[in-house]
């Protein structure tokens, strides 16, 4: 069972930061992907128009979600697909378990689905004696390492190839000390071919579900979703309610944006459209709420449901790049995860909206124009108002309120602060000041503006 950490973002980030070389590598690699995104986007003259169109389509989806879901249900059923509705993670997991039982098997192969990570599906099924094998290479690696993915598109971006070689040595029987990516990928290919050919139930995620036609689209580069689904008797596709798009032609907009935003590729290798099951086989779709309808009702935060999971906001985020995905202690990390998670559990994820510089880069690269940094700022206010800010943060804010409401205290504090930073920086840079963990102090000025003004006014 993969236990998610109970520590807060700043603490977990500090752990990640112990290995400076790794942090630098992580930072530079993700920035390189961000640069590939830019290069790719700049080749499309109408890029900004596409973002605007995608944003408007998603706004329309949220404003008419009720009818679109009904339309999708009707069309999918007439295509021969079976539909299931799950109010929460537990119900989703129980439906999957039931479908596996009905197929009379105890093993399943699964391609990438962040929703099943959110629902804790693998852990649930393991407790019930069902073996799940993740087939995306990065996900298989973290699964063998008994870790959660650290990035929604690049699940093992936090791992070095030598560590992956060690994991494969331990679990897949290769010799020790192999770190060649080509060799390691080939090892996984051989291992997973055997899995694809022997599993009767395959689960995939859903990138887009088309209300107009009842079909759904799954995008991968590796081909693992298709290998699983087309070799299984039963294909289960799990989707959040927000994956709906109105018409098939809208895929033109989203498929142009998705992969260019994610990795800089013009499109994923495979963009598969599932409309009907194969003869004699079954497709089940599970439509999952798990807090999404609540988020839909939060005016300030409902836009987060427009997300198409490209992770552009991760790759550009100066905090994510230097703190690593595990520091967010939730299935979907990064800036978007930090506005989705507090909706699920405001207390548990109260730290996440603070794990940001509010620089706005996330909002600028988002292909569906979610105002991510503004929502992070709004969540901070909601969290403090609801009393979920950490005790040290609350004490600091209380002290700040006293100081700012008294001119005498304000001037005194300014003087004291300048003296302390200059002569006793350890008094600020210590364990009792979590704020400092995120920041470097500037050099302290000799005098404050009002002291300077007092002096210069006389000249």
């Amino acid at each position: 069972m993969i236990a998610r950490n109970k520590k807060e973002h700043a603490e977990l980030a500090q752990e990640f930061n112990r290995d400076e070389d790794r942090v630098n590598w992580h930072d530079e690699t993700l920035w390189w992907i961000r640069e590939k995104r830019d290069k790719s986007a700049h080749q499309i003259p109408e890029w900004e128009h596409l973002r605007e169109a995608a944003s408007q389509i998603k706004n329309n989806v949220l404003s008419n979600l009720h009818n679109y879901l009904l339309q999708f249900e009707k069309n999918a059923i007439s295509n021969g697909i079976e539909l299931h509705w799950a109010a929460n993670a537990d119900e989703h997991n129980r439906i999957v378990h039931r479908l596996i039982n009905e197929a009379n098997v105890v093993r399943m192969v699964k391609s990438k689905s962040m929703l099943t990570e959110e629902c804790g599906l693998n852990e649930y099924l393991a407790q019930h004696g069902i073996e799940v094998i993740d087939s995306d290479l990065g996900e298989r690696i973290v699964q063998l390492a008994e870790e959660p993915p650290s990035h929604i598109v690049l699940p093992c971006i936090h791992k070095k190839k030598e560590e992956i070689g060690e994991i494969f040595h331990k679990h897949l029987g290769i010799e020790a000390n192999i770190s060649d990516p080509q060799f390691l990928t080939e090892t996984a290919r051989q291992h997973l071919r055997g899995i694809f050919l022997t599993r009767k139930v395959a689960l995939t995620g859903v990138n887009f579900a088309v209300a107009e036609t009842g079909e759904f689209v799954v995008c991968t580069n590796e081909g693992n979703a298709d290998m699983g689904a087309h070799l299984a008797d039963v294909h289960i596709a799990s989707m959040g309610i927000e994956k709906i798009i109105p018409e098939r032609k809208h895929l033109g907009v989203f498929l142009r944006l998705l992969t260019r935003s994610a990795t800089g590729q013009p499109i994923t290798t495979y963009s598969s459209h599932f409309k009907t099951p194969r003869d004699g086989k079954k497709i089940h779709i599970i439509i999952v709420d798990n807090g999404r309808t609540v988020q839909l009702g939060r005016k300030d935060f409902r836009n987060s449901l427009k997300c198409i999971r490209c992770a552009a906001c991760f790759n550009t985020c100066p905090v994510y790049r230097r703190s690593g995905g595990h520091s967010y202690h939730t299935a979907i990390a990064g800036p978007i995860g930090s506005i989705l998670a507090p909706n699920l559990d405001m207390k548990k994820y109260a730290d996440l909206p603070f794990a940001s510089t509010l620089c706005g880069s996330c909002s600028n690269v988002c292909p569906v124009k979610i105002d991510i940094h503004e929502q992070l700022y709004k969540w901070r206010q909601v969290i403090v108002k609801n009393g979920y800010a950490s005790t040290t943060k609350k004490a600091g804010m209380q002290a700040m309120t006293w100081t700012l409401s008294s001119p005498f205290l304000y001037h005194l504090a300014g003087k004291a602060g300048r003296w302390v930073i200059k002569y006793a920086p350890f008094a600020v840079n210590n364990k009792l000041n979590p704020w400092y963990k995120h920041r470097d102090m500037p050099a302290s000025p000799e005098w404050s503006f009002s002291e300077w003004y007092q002096k210069n006014r006389q000249n």
Binding site: Q56, L62, P181, E222, H230, H250, P266, S272, F274
Partner: protein, 203 residues
């Protein structure tokens, strides 16, 4: 109340006031797809392009490449000479596990991303273009559209149970972002473009 009813009811109560769908016809301005662009983008994602005069030339090229007499499967009528077994059994997915070459027709290509559109009608079995070690597809030079908008315009005139855009061989960069070709699906992808007058360029 069932979960379905509960979810739908909450959505109805919580969804914002209706907003309009945007007009996306503005993106349809590039009408013709460029063969040159298609070829260069496909090469950029690891695919190979070969211009051929027709199906007989494709047969010659594939047979030349199949030195070890490995299994070739093609549901294309004009390419039936390629099949290494007399009666190709496309009734089971699993018996395709050892296919070395699958050669399929594609309906069209998309210049902006090097993808080709193939549906279950061309596949015989849906797993075929994924399970094969090497994939080759055939398109006519005239059937290349500029962007995904025109692609969906064409798709809207057809029916299928399963359809997929394929852009290059299967790949992964999950290990330290090093690109490796041949993840779970084909280790290579060749697109044969039938143009009529041009001869094959090495693949």
């Amino acid at each position: 109340m069932t979960s379905r009813e509960k979810i739908l009811m909450t959505i109805k109560a919580n969804q914002p006031a209706t907003t309009k769908l945007p007009n996306i016809t503005e993106f349809d301005h590039e009408v013709e797809g460029s063969l040159l662009k298609f070829s260069s983008v496909l090469a950029g994602v690891g695919g190979k392009v070969a211009y051929v005069s027709g199906y007989p030339e494709i047969i010659r090229i594939i047979l030349n490449r199949n030195d070890n007499n490995l299994r070739i499967v093609s549901p294309v009528k004009e390419l039936s000479a390629l099949n290494t077994e007399k009666l190709v059994d496309l009734t089971s997915s699993h018996n395709l596990h050892n296919v070395e070459w699958a050669v399929l027709n594609a309906q069209f290509g998309v210049a902006e991303n090097g993808a080709v559109w193939i549906t279950d009608k061309e596949m015989g079995q849906r797993v075929l273009p994924f399970v094969t070690q090497h994939l080759a597809v055939v398109i006519k030079a005239a059937n290349i559209v500029a962007t995904m908008h025109q692609a969906y315009e064409l798709i809207s005139k057809t029916t299928y149970g399963f359809g997929t855009f394929i852009a290059g061989p299967s790949k992964t960069a999950d290990i330290e972002q090093s690109l490796v070709i041949g993840a779970h699906g084909p280790r290579s992808m060749t697109v044969f473009i039938i143009e009529g007058h041009k001869h094959a360029e090495g693949i």
